[in-house]
């Protein structure tokens, strides 16, 4: 009985000791320095222009352009890309591509044409192997801010693989709309 009384006497003391720091709160803080929210794009957010080794390049490809993250990518049978123009002011389409020596030897001169939203806007004749820059004006009204724009290429003739019949058009470096 005496032992219980001793324990009972000790309980408040132990309780006080143990709970002395209970409810400790940090008080008030000043507003911290403000962070910038202008940090650029996320993948999946299409822009007006794409470079083939950009990490988001795959999002621009609709079909017939080789996957991976190479400096240049192969355009196959009917290559197609998509873009999004966020504001007005874009009036030209530009594409940077190459005709490799190895395919040119077989095909000879190649004509590459380009269409925006199904409307042909121009072509370029490639009469030697090497790099080409195609730059064509885009007719007014074709590009609308905020809407997705599809661009298709056609090359003629194309190199055909003797092994599996795969067709290669050209080597694409970059493409898109410029002001």
């Amino acid at each position: 009985m005496r032992g219980i009384l001793v324990l009972i006497k000790l309980v408040p003391i132990i309780g006080c000791v143990l709970t002395a720091s209970c409810g400790r709160q940090p008080g008030a803080f000043a507003v911290p320095p403000q962070r910038s929210i202008d940090l650029g794009q996320d993948p999946g957010g299409l822009g007006p222009f794409v470079i083939m080794d950009d990490p988001a390049a795959d999002d621009y490809i609709v079909r017939d352009i080789s996957p991976g993250r190479s400096h240049h990518r192969w355009a196959f049978l009917h290559p197609e890309l998509r873009f999004r123009i966020k504001e007005a002011g874009y009036s030209k389409f530009a594409a940077d591509f190459a005709i490799p020596e190895v395919t040119f030897k077989v095909t000879g001169p190649v004509t590459v044409s380009v269409a925006v939203e199904g409307r042909r806007i121009g072509s370029i004749r490639c009469d030697h192997a090497g790099d080409y820059l195609m730059e064509k004006p885009v007719p007014a009204g074709v590009l609308q801010a905020g809407k997705e724009v599809h661009v298709t290429f056609e090359a003629h003739p194309r190199w055909v693989s003797p092994d599996d019949g795969a067709e290669l058009s050209f080597f694409l470096r970059s493409a898109g709309f410029t002001r």
Binding site: G3, Q25, P33
Partner: protein
């Protein structure tokens, strides 16, 4: 072989210093013991004293090899000198029959060799190479506690780790494991002493084998864990209480108190030992102040360093638990609850009846097995009339309680010696029962045999790495085979400057990594970094909660919750408006929140990658508040968040008299898209917290996105080993 010598010296020296300290203590207390008992209690109690002294050295940042070496030599010298000056003639315990002793020694010896080489091999156990020796390595680097490193595992009491640290100074990781193994060997010997003293030698031999051979006890014992240290201490306290019953020596109470305190210092779950001793004394003897003081003061001496350390360091004497009682900025209440809930539940358990079979035969669900003979434990009730059996079973029940908090078989280890001894006493009158069951245990617990019937995931000794143990093979491939992350250490050392930390979603073998790792679930900081890294895919605010009210001028406004729910309440940004224009944030504003007020600036930093969270289930009065430097006209408060739909929020303003007045509890939900560039924002905010390096597993939530869009994260992979990727934030 030089390395093996260092390892053996480290462990042997630690044990020798413990025995020396213990023998000095026992002499000072003039406790009457039998010869073998005295040696065992000298080791166990001396280990407690040594652990306490190393703790003090760690608190003073003086845990150094030289201090250990010369201090240890001095202690051994003092003990030898004292033994020569004061020669004692110790009594011997009643002898054991040779036809019992010889088979016991044979079985014990064979298993001892198997276990010994496992303990001597490079330490590769999960928790051992993770946090037990991770803490030791950190203490070793800092010559004491690292006050800057905050992990839930570093807050746990480290009584065993203090012994490991002493051994580590001489023989590194394996020395520490061998010190734990020494406790594993002391326990069965202590059980035999108990049997000899109290008249149950045959039952004690059987029980000692049952315990020593049980696979989970063996695996734990050869690893740098602390459970075997705990069970040895718990059993020692029980043993001494029985001795005290016979002798009523006051000094014995001091020894009991010291061991009970040491048990707490080794592991929180052993906190039961002290109340058990108090209850025992109360039941057997009226409890007087003197009795309590003799028991309580030595116990408090060994417990106090850990309680005080955590109280001062973390603000919570019992960290990482009881955070709701002792709120602190270092470990979240909700995280504690998730952690405890997770430990309390059996994964993949279809029926409760599986548990006995899991604990004795399968081991996959409970991570370990005891001897299948424990299935016969109900038979111990045959001997219920014997007071000894009742006491043992009572102790078994009490010390099995921690298993309610953690489903791992390890947490039943403290109950095992009591249960085994009770079973032994119950069956000792049945002809041949004990030898047959002991042989059966030896057969089914022999590691290669065990592997044929237990679950592949059963935590057990799975090999006999004698060449690695003797360092005839290099240690690195063996360590990397068991802990593949260790292969990243060279890349980490190459890229991460000393003193800089690496963030990881998963736990890592920190005992083998030369930079500190901050793990996602181990601290409030880890939680915060995880939340930030997840923000582009989950927690980023998708909704704006708008509270509009009639224009009012006030010097403070707050949003208060009025309901209870188990989900957390989070706010990425809190903004106030007047006439549809945001009131510009002002450094003179004072912002507060409850609970988890420490993180309230995250709701006012204009970053959608960070957010304030209650980090516990919401309850009435949870709030987030702004105090303006002067009265400010406002008519709207907006919370940009991932809404807690169950919360019932209302906006209140402070009146000139200081009274809070509700303005509205009507909320309009508006869809909001986080701004682009969230990945970069997350990287930026993680970097701002001091992390430039990350370890990410293939299976981590973040990995697929990080692999696909490293440039959008602004990160570069520096190395990859076995599915673990080492990234730098550029």
């Amino acid at each position: 072989m030089k390395e093996v010598f260092s390892i053996l010296f480290g462990a042997g020296f630690t044990i020798a210093v413990s025995v020396a300290l213990g023998s000095l203590l026992l002499r000072a207390l003039r406790v009457r013991m039998y010869r073998v008992e005295a040696a065992l209690f000298a080791f166990i109690s001396g280990a407690g004293v040594l652990s306490f002294l190393v703790t003090l050295l760690c608190l003073m940042q003086q845990a150094r090899k030289g201090v250990f070496l010369w201090g240890g030599i001095a202690v051994i010298g003092a003990a030898v000198w004292r033994a020569r000056v004061q020669k004692e003639r110790l009594r011997t315990l009643p002898a054991i029959r040779l036809d019992w002793l010889v088979p016991f020694c044979l079985l014990f010896g064979v298993f001892f060799i198997y276990y010994f080489f496992n303990a001597l091999a490079p330490e590769v156990s999960a928790d051992g190479s993770g946090y037990h020796l991770g803490n030791v390595l950190r203490d070793w680097r800092h010559h004491g506690f690292d006050w800057e490193y905050r992990s839930m595992y570093s807050y746990l009491s480290q009584g065993a780790e203090m012994l490991f640290l002493f051994a580590f100074a001489f023989g590194r990781h394996s020395s520490s494991a061998l010190v734990h193994f020494a406790f594993g060997c002391a326990l069965p010997l202590l059980m035999i002493c108990y049997g000899r003293r109290f008249g149950y030698p045959k039952a004690a031999l059987f029980a000692a084998l049952l315990v020593f051979l049980s696979p989970v006890i063996a695996k734990d014992g050869v690893s740098a864990y602390n459970d075997i240290c705990v069970v040895t201490l718990v059993y020692a306290v029980f043993y001494l209480l029985q001795v005290w019953d016979q002798e009523r020596s006051d000094n014995l109470l001091i020894l009991i108190g010291l061991l009970a305190g040491f048990a707490y210092a080794v592991k929180y779950t052993a906190a039961l030992t002290l109340p058990f001793a108090v209850a025992w004394l109360w039941r057997r003897h009226s409890l007087k102040i003197g009795t309590l003081a003799r028991l309580g003061i030595p116990a408090a001496l060994l417990i106090a360093p850990w309680i005080l350390r955590n109280w001062i360091w973390v603000g919570n004497p019992f960290a990482p638990f009881l955070n709701a009682w002792f709120p602190n900025p270092f470990y979240h209440v909700g995280m504690e609850r998730l952690y405890v809930d997770n430990l309390q539940h059996y994964p993949n358990l279809k029926h409760w009846w599986q548990i006995p079979l899991e604990l004795t035969l399968r081991g996959g669900v409970v991570s370990g097995t005891f001897s299948p003979v424990f299935l016969m434990l109900p038979l111990s009730l045959i001997a219920w009339r014997k007071s000894q059996v009742r006491r043992l079973l009572f102790a078994a029940i009490i010390f099995a309680e921690p298993a309610l908090l953690n489903t791992g078989a390890r947490f039943l280890i403290p109950a095992a010696p009591f249960a085994a001894l009770a079973l032994g006493i119950a069956l000792e009158s049945v002809a041949f029962a004990l030898p047959v069951l002991a042989m059966f245990t030896a057969l089914v617990c022999w590691p290669p045999v065990l592997a044929t019937y237990c679950d592949p995931g059963n935590w057990r000794i799975g090999e006999f790495p004698i060449r690695e143990a003797l360092r005839l093979e290099p240690s690195a491939p063996y360590i990397i085979k068991h802990s593949p992350d260790v292969a990243l250490n060279s890349a980490i050392v190459e890229h991460v400057p000393p003193g800089e930390r690496v963030y990881s979603f998963a736990g890592r073998p920190q005992a083998y990594l030369d930079r500190d790792i901050v793990v996602s679930y181990e601290s409030a900081l880890g939680n915060l970094v995880q939340e930030i890294l997840w923000s582009p895919h989950g927690p980023a605010p998708r909704v704006r909660e708008r509270f509009r009210f009639l224009p009012v001028t006030t010097d403070a406004v707050r949003v208060v919750n009025n309901t209870t729910w188990f989900n957390f309440w989070t706010v990425a940004e809190m903004r106030v408006f007047s006439k549809q224009k945001e009131v510009p944030r002002n450094p003179a504003w004072r912002i507060r929140a409850w609970p988890n007020g420490w993180e309230v600036p995250l709701a006012f930093d204009n970053s959608y990658a960070t957010r304030w969270s209650t980090w516990q289930g919401i309850e009435p009065r949870a709030r987030i508040e702004i105090e303006f430097p002067s009265p400010q006209p406002i008519d709207e408060v907006a919370l940009e968040c991932d809404p807690t739909w169950e919360a019932h929020l209302q906006v209140e303003i402070r009146m000139p008299g200081g009274r809070w007045v509700p303005m509205t509890d009507t909320v309009e939900y508006e869809k909001a898209e986080p701004p682009p560039g969230m990945r970069l924002a997350a990287s930026r905010d993680v970097k701002a917290l001091g992390f430039r390096y990350l370890l990410v597993n293939d299976g981590d939530f973040l990995y697929e996105d990080l692999k696909k869009y490293p440039k959008f994260w602004g990160m570069t992979q520096l190395a990859e080993v076995n599915g673990t990727h080492f990234y730098r934030i550029d």
